[in-house]
C-alpha cells in the first residue's frame, strides 16, 4: 500500500489497448456508468454491459451524471403501519458504482454535492450512495462548445472532485488516483498500470495549458457579477426585465450538476408507503409558497434573484468554497427562455439586458 502522501500523487499510465481489460475488471466489481451512444443519437450516461460501449471521444451528455447519486425520484424511507405500531426504515442504495469518463466539471459537481450532503445534518441516504461511488474523470483536451469551466475553476482539466483523473496522452492515458477510493479501483490490475514518468506528467500540464488557451477572453467573468450580486447592487428593474425572458421551466435547476433542492412525498397506501425525495426547482412559483398563502418570493424576479444569489454570491462562495456553478454550459442548452448562467452574468456585468 502507498502512504497517504504518495497516494495523492499516485500517477500511472495505461496503454489504450489495456483500457478494455481495466473496464472488464471494474465491471466485475460493480456497476460502471459511462457516456454511451444512447437512443436517437444522444450521448447519455448509462450502465454499461461491456467495455466497448464506453465513449472516449464525445460531447458531454446533456444530462449530467447527477441522476446516479441523486435520482430525480429517490426512495429514502420505507414506512409500514402494522397494528398500532409504525415502522420507519431508511432505504440505502449501497450498490457499488464507477462513474467512468465523466468530465472534470461533473466530477467537481459531485464533490460539491457530497460536501453539501456531508454538512450537518448529514444526509445518510445520499452519503450511502456516494460512499460506494468512484468518480473517474477524463480531462477535456479540447473544451466543449458551451462550457465556461475556467471561470469556476472546474476544468477543462480535473480540479478536485475526481477519485481518478484520466488524461489522454495520445498513445496512452495518464491515470492519477487522488484518494484511497481511486487507488482501490486501480489495485489488483497486475501490470496494467505503469508508473508515470516526469515527462508524462509534464505532458499533462502542457495539454492543460493548451486546453485553457481555447477559452481566450471568452469567459463569463463571474468576478464582477459576484461583487454586484453579493452586495445587492443589481437593480430590481434589471431582474424584472430578465425575468420576462424566463419561462419558469425549472430546466436550469434540473439539468444543473450542482442543484440539489428537493421536495418530499409519500407513495403507496394500504399500510405501506415509500417516502421519496423528488427534485424541485426554486424557479417554480409555489416553491416557497406557505400554507397561509403568503409567498416570500411571489414574483419571478425575486426567484431569479435568489437563484443567482445562491449560485454566484460571495456569501455562498465562502460557505461552499466554490461557486455553485461548474461552467458546464448545460443551462444554455435547456433554458426554455434566455436566462442561462452566462446570459444573466453578462447582463449583470453590463448592467443591461440585451437589447431587442
Amino acid at each position: 500500500m502507498l502512504s497517504e502522501l504518495e497516494m495523492e500523487r499516485a500517477v500511472f499510465t495505461l496503454r489504450k489497448r489495456d483500457v478494455t481489460e481495466w473496464l472488464a475488471r471494474l465491471l466485475g466489481q460493480g456497476e460502471v456508468i459511462a457516456p454511451t451512444s444512447g437512443p436517437c443519437g444522444e450521448v447519455i450516461f448509462s450502465k454499461i454491459d461491456s467495455p466497448e460501449q464506453v465513449l472516449w471521444d464525445f460531447e458531454n451528455p446533456l444530462s449530467p451524471p447527477k441522476q446516479f447519486v441523486l435520482p430525480q425520484t429517490d426512495p429514502i424511507v420505507r414506512i409500514e403501519c402494522k397494528g398500532k405500531g409504525t415502522q420507519v426504515a431508511p432505504i440505502h442504495d449501497n450498490r457499488r458504482r464507477f462513474l467512468f469518463n465523466v468530465r472534470p466539471c461533473d466530477a467537481k459537481a459531485i464533490a460539491f454535492l457530497t460536501r453539501m450532503h456531508e454538512t450537518e445534518p448529514a444526509d445518510a441516504s445520499y452519503l450511502s450512495r456516494a460512499a460506494e461511488t468512484t468518480v473517474i474523470s477524463l480531462d477535456c483536451n479540447a473544451p466543449c462548445t458551451l462550457g465556461f469551466c475556467v471561470c469556476s475553476d472546474s476544468g477543462p482539466f480535473a480540479s478536485g472532485g475526481s477519485d481518478i483523473e484520466l488524461t489522454d496522452l495520445g498513445e496512452k492515458y495518464l491515470v492519477a488516483a487522488s484518494c484511497a477510493k481511486g487507488e482501490a479501483a486501480l489495485s489488483g490490475m497486475d501490470g496494467l498500470f505503469l508508473p508515470a514518468t516526469d515527462e508524462e506528467v509534464a505532458q499533462r500540464d502542457d495539454l492543460e495549458s493548451e486546453a485553457k488557451r481555447h477559452f481566450g477572453d471568452e469567459t463569463c467573468h463571474f468576478g464582477s457579477a459576484m461583487r454586484r450580486i453579493s452586495t445587492g447592487r443589481v437593480d430590481d428593474a434589471l431582474w424584472e426585465q430578465m425575468s420576462d425572458w424566463c419561462l419558469a421551466c425549472g430546466g436550469c435547476n434540473f439539468i444543473c450538476p450542482t442543484c440539489y433542492c428537493f421536495s418530499v412525498g409519500d407513495r403507496g397506501g394500504d399500510g405501506t408507503w415509500t417516502r421519496c425525495r423528488t427534485w424541485d426547482s426554486c424557479q417554480y412559483a409555489a416553491f416557497t409558497l406557505e400554507a397561509t398563502g403568503h409567498n416570500p418570493r411571489a414574483q419571478r424576479r425575486d426567484r431569479m434573484k435568489r437563484r443567482f444569489f445562491h449560485k454566484v454570491s460571495a456569501q455562498y462562495f465562502v460557505r461552499d468554497g466554490m461557486a455553485g456553478c461548474v461552467g458546464c454550459g448545460r443551462c444554455i442548452s435547456v433554458c426554455l427562455g434566455a436566462t442561462d448562467m452566462p446570459a444573466v452574468v453578462a447582463a449583470i456585468r453590463k448592467r443591461a439586458w440585451h437589447e431587442h
Partner: protein, 635 residues
C-alpha cells in the same frame, strides 16, 4: 437505467424526451438535443411528466358496479358484461355514444371511432375538448376549405413578424413561447392582442389592448390596415373570393396608429399567426378565427411555405383526435360523414356499414344518450359546463370508463377498464405542427391494466368489426389506410429514433375571405366584462394533478380560494374600495355571484378574469357564452 425516447403527453407542442426507468419503475425525465421539436428544451410539465403515471391514483383492475359499489372482476367478466349491456341497449333502440380523448393515442382514438361507427352503429362520437376548439378549426376551414393546416415551431423562430392572440402562451404552450422569444432575440416583431400585459405582451413590440369578446374588432382593424397597406409584390397568387365585400364591411373600422404599423410589419418576408381557442359565443369565435386566417391570406403569408397559421390546441393529441375522425360529422381524414367516396373507403376497411347522418357532439351526447363509452377523459374537468355535467353522467343507464387514472368520471361509471398510461403503452400522438410522433412504453402497466388499443380492439371484435391487430403498429397501418395523409408517416415511424414524422396538409385551391363579427354593442349600464381565462385547466388533468411537483403549482390557487376568485385591475379595485381577497358582488342579466378578488396591475381596466378552473364558482353570473357584461359592487 433505461432511457426510453417518447413524446410528452401534456400540451400539443409535442416535445420529445427520454423517460427514465429503473427496476421497472419510472424515475425521471431527461431532455434531448436531438428531438426535432424540443431540441433540448422542455417546460415544467415535461420535466415532471413521469410523476403523473408514477404517483397517480391508478386503475389496476377491471371494476363492475354491483349494488352501487365498484367491485373488482376479471377482464373477461368485465368485457362480457359490457358487450351484453350495450347489445341490450342497442336492441332496445337506446342511443349509445363514444367519447375519445386528446389524452389518448391515435391508435386508441381510431379504434374508438371504428368501434362507434362500425361496431355499435352510432355516429354519436366526439371528444370533450372539441367543444372548445371546434370554432377555431371551423373558422380556419371557412376560409381555406380545410382545417388541418399548421406550421412548425421552427417557422416561428425564423419569422420576421408574429401575431399572437394571447391567452397566456408562456403558460399554455411554453415551448411555443420559447420559439417566440428566440425569434424576438433575432429581431422579429411581436404583435400581441390581449386584455392583459402578460409575459408575451411585455416582450412584444406592439400590444393591442383588447377587451375579451372584442378580439374581432382588433383583428378587423388589422385586416383593414393590411388592405390599405396593400399586398406585397409577388404574393397572394391564390384566388381569393370575398375581398370586395370584406372591404365594404371594414370601411368604417377604426384603424389605430399601432394597427397601421403592425400592418406594415406584416409586409415582411415571413410572418406567423398564433391563435388558440377562446371563450365565448361559438359563432363569434369562428368568425374571429376566419378573420385571422383571412389576415394571413391578405398579407400573403398563408401560401408561403414557412409562414402561416398555428392553431394553439391545448392537449397533446387534439390534432390526432380530429385527424382520425373523432367527431360526430367527420370520417377519418375530415371527410364529411355523408361523403359517399369516403364512406366506401372506411366501410371497405371496417367491413361494416357506417350509419348515415351526423351524430351528437359531446355536450349534446351527455344530455341524451343512454349508454356511453368514455375513453381517457373526464367531462366535468374539460367541458365548459363543469360540474353541472355530473348530473348528465349520473343519468346514464350504462357508463363504461377506460382510463389509467381514477378521475371523477370513475365515480359514476358502471364498468371501469384499467388501461396503460402514455408511459406504459405504444402508439402515436400528432402535435399541433402536424407531426406524428411515437409514444413508447418505459415500464409495464400497473396491476392488470392493459394497453388501451388492445382493449378497444377486443371490444371491436366483440361487436363484429375486429381485425388481426397484433401491435399498435398494425393499428397505425390501418390508420394510414383510412387517413391518406398519415400514409407517408408510417415509414418515418418505423425507422427507429424519435419516430417523428411531419405530415402535409392538402393543397389549397382558393380562399374565401371573411372579416370578424363586430364586438357586442356597449352593454347598457354594465361597467365590466367578466371572462374566463383560458379554455383548459391543467390543474384538473390527471397527469398534472397526480404529480406532486406540478400539483403544487397548478392547484395552490384553488386551495387558497376554494370558492374561486376574479382578477381585477388594481385601479378598479381602489375605485371600488376593495382590496386583495375582499369579496365583491357580480351582477349580470344571467344572475349574480359573490367572490373574492385578486388584484392585477397588468389587466385592462373594466375587465374581470377568472381562471377556467373556477367557471363553476361563477356559473351563477356567467352567461352561457362565457364572456359576460357585469356590474360590480362591494359585497
Amino acid at each position: 437505467m433505461l432511457n426510453i425516447p417518447t413524446t410528452c403527453p401534456c400540451c400539443a407542442c409535442g416535445c420529445g424526451f427520454f423517460l427514465l426507468a429503473r427496476d421497472g419503475e419510472l424515475v425521471g425525465v431527461a431532455p434531448s438535443r436531438t428531438h426535432p421539436v424540443a431540441a433540448g428544451k422542455i417546460c415544467s410539465r415535461g420535466w415532471s411528466a413521469h410523476e403523473g403515471p408514477l404517483w397517480g391514483q391508478r386503475l389496476v383492475r377491471p371494476l363492475l358496479r354491483r349494488d352501487g359499489k365498484l367491485e373488482a372482476v376479471s377482464w373477461d367478466a368485465a368485457l362480457d358484461h359490457i358487450a351484453g349491456r350495450l347489445q341490450d341497449l342497442i336492441q332496445a333502440g337506446k342511443p349509445i355514444g363514444v367519447l375519445g380523448s386528446p389524452r389518448a393515442t391515435n391508435e386508441e382514438n381510431y379504434l374508438a371511432v371504428r368501434l362507434a361507427r362500425a361496431g355499435l352503429g352510432t355516429n354519436h362520437l366526439d371528444f370533450c375538448y372539441h367543444s372548445l376548439c371546434r370554432p377555431l378549426l371551423a373558422g380556419i376551414e371557412d376560409v381555406t376549405g380545410d382545417s388541418s393546416h399548421s406550421i412548425g415551431l421552427a417557422d416561428i423562430e425564423s419569422s420576421n413578424t408574429i401575431v399572437l392572440v394571447e391567452g397566456d402562451l408562456a403558460k399554455t404552450h411554453a415551448r411555443a413561447a420559447s420559439s417566440v422569444l428566440k425569434a424576438l432575440a433575432s429581431g422579429a416583431r411581436l404583435i400581441v392582442i390581449g386584455c392583459a400585459r402578460t409575459q408575451m405582451a411585455r416582450v412584444a413590440s406592439c400590444f393591442l389592448p383588447t377587451v375579451p369578446g372584442r378580439e374581432g374588432d382588433t383583428i378587423n382593424g388589422l385586416l383593414a390596415a393590411a388592405i390599405r397597406t396593400g399586398p406585397t409584390e409577388g404574393r397572394g397568387a391564390m384566388p381569393s373570393a370575398g375581398l370586395e365585400p370584406l372591404q365594404c364591411k371594414l370601411a368604417e373600422v377604426n384603424i389605430t396608429e399601432e394597427m397601421r404599423v403592425a400592418a406594415e410589419w406584416l409586409t415582411a418576408d415571413r410572418a406567423v399567426f398564433l391563435m388558440g381557442p377562446g371563450g365565448g359565443d361559438a359563432g363569434r369565435l369562428r368568425q374571429d378565427a376566419a378573420a385571422m386566417t383571412s389576415l394571413a391570406v391578405i398579407t400573403g403569408h398563408l401560401e408561403k411555405p414557412d409562414s402561416g397559421l398555428l392553431p394553439l390546441l391545448a392537449r397533446s393529441n387534439v390534432r390526432g383526435a380530429c385527424d382520425v375522425g373523432l367527431a360526430p360529422d367527420r370520417l377519418p381524414g375530415y371527410s364529411h360523414i355523408d361523403d359517399p367516396e369516403a364512406r366506401r373507403r372506411v366501410e371497405r376497411i371496417w367491413r361494416k356499414a357506417v350509419p348515415i347522418g351526423s351524430g351528437l357532439d359531446a355536450e349534446a351526447m351527455l344530455e341524451s344518450v343512454s349508454g356511453l363509452i368514455l375513453l381517457a377523459d373526464d367531462p366535468e374537468a374539460v367541458l365548459p359546463a363543469g360540474r353541472r355535467v355530473r348530473a348528465a353522467m349520473e343519468r346514464l343507464d350504462f357508463l363504461v370508463v377506460l382510463d389509467a387514472f381514477a378521475t371523477a368520471a370513475v365515480e359514476t361509471a358502471h364498468t371501469v377498464l384499467p388501461i396503460a398510461s402514455y408511459a406504459e403503452t405504444e402508439g402515436t400522438f400528432t402535435n399541433f405542427e402536424n407531426r406524428v410522433q411515437k409514444v413508447r412504453p418505459a415500464t409495464a402497466p400497473p396491476g392488470e391494466a392493459r394497453d388501451g388499443w388492445r382493449v378497444l380492439a377486443d371490444l371491436c371484435t366483440r361487436f363484429g368489426t375486429g381485425s388481426a391487430w397484433s401491435s399498435a403498429n398494425d393499428v397505425f397501418h390501418e390508420i394510414a389506410e383510412a387517413v391518406p395523409r398519415y400514409e407517408p408517416a408510417e415509414r418515418g415511424l418505423s425507422a427507429g429514433g424519435w419516430g417523428s414524422s411531419l405530415i402535409g396538409a392538402p393543397a389549397w385551391t382558393r380562399f374565401a375571405l371573411q372579416g370578424a363579427a363586430a364586438g357586442p354593442a356597449e352593454a347598457d349600464g354594465h361597467a365590466y366584462v367578466l371572462a374566463l381565462d383560458g379554455t383548459f385547466d391543467w390543474g384538473s388533468d390527471p397527469l398534472v394533478a397526480s404529480s406532486p411537483t406540478l400539483r403544487r403549482e397548478y392547484q395552490s390557487e384553488r386551495k387558497l380560494f376554494p370558492g374561486g376568485f376574479v382578477e381585477m385591475n388594481s385601479e378598479d379595485a381602489d375605485a371600488l374600495g376593495v382590496r386583495e381577497g375582499w369579496r365583491v358582488k357580480l351582477n349580470s342579466t344571467h344572475g349574480e355571484a359573490v367572490v373574492p378578488i385578486r388584484q392585477r396591475k397588468d389587466l385592462l381596466r373594466g375587465v374581470l378574469l377568472a381562471p377556467y378552473a373556477f367557471r363553476d364558482c361563477l356559473s351563477g353570473v356567467l352567461c352561457e357564452h362565457g364572456v359576460t357584461a357585469v356590474n360590480v359592487e362591494r359585497a
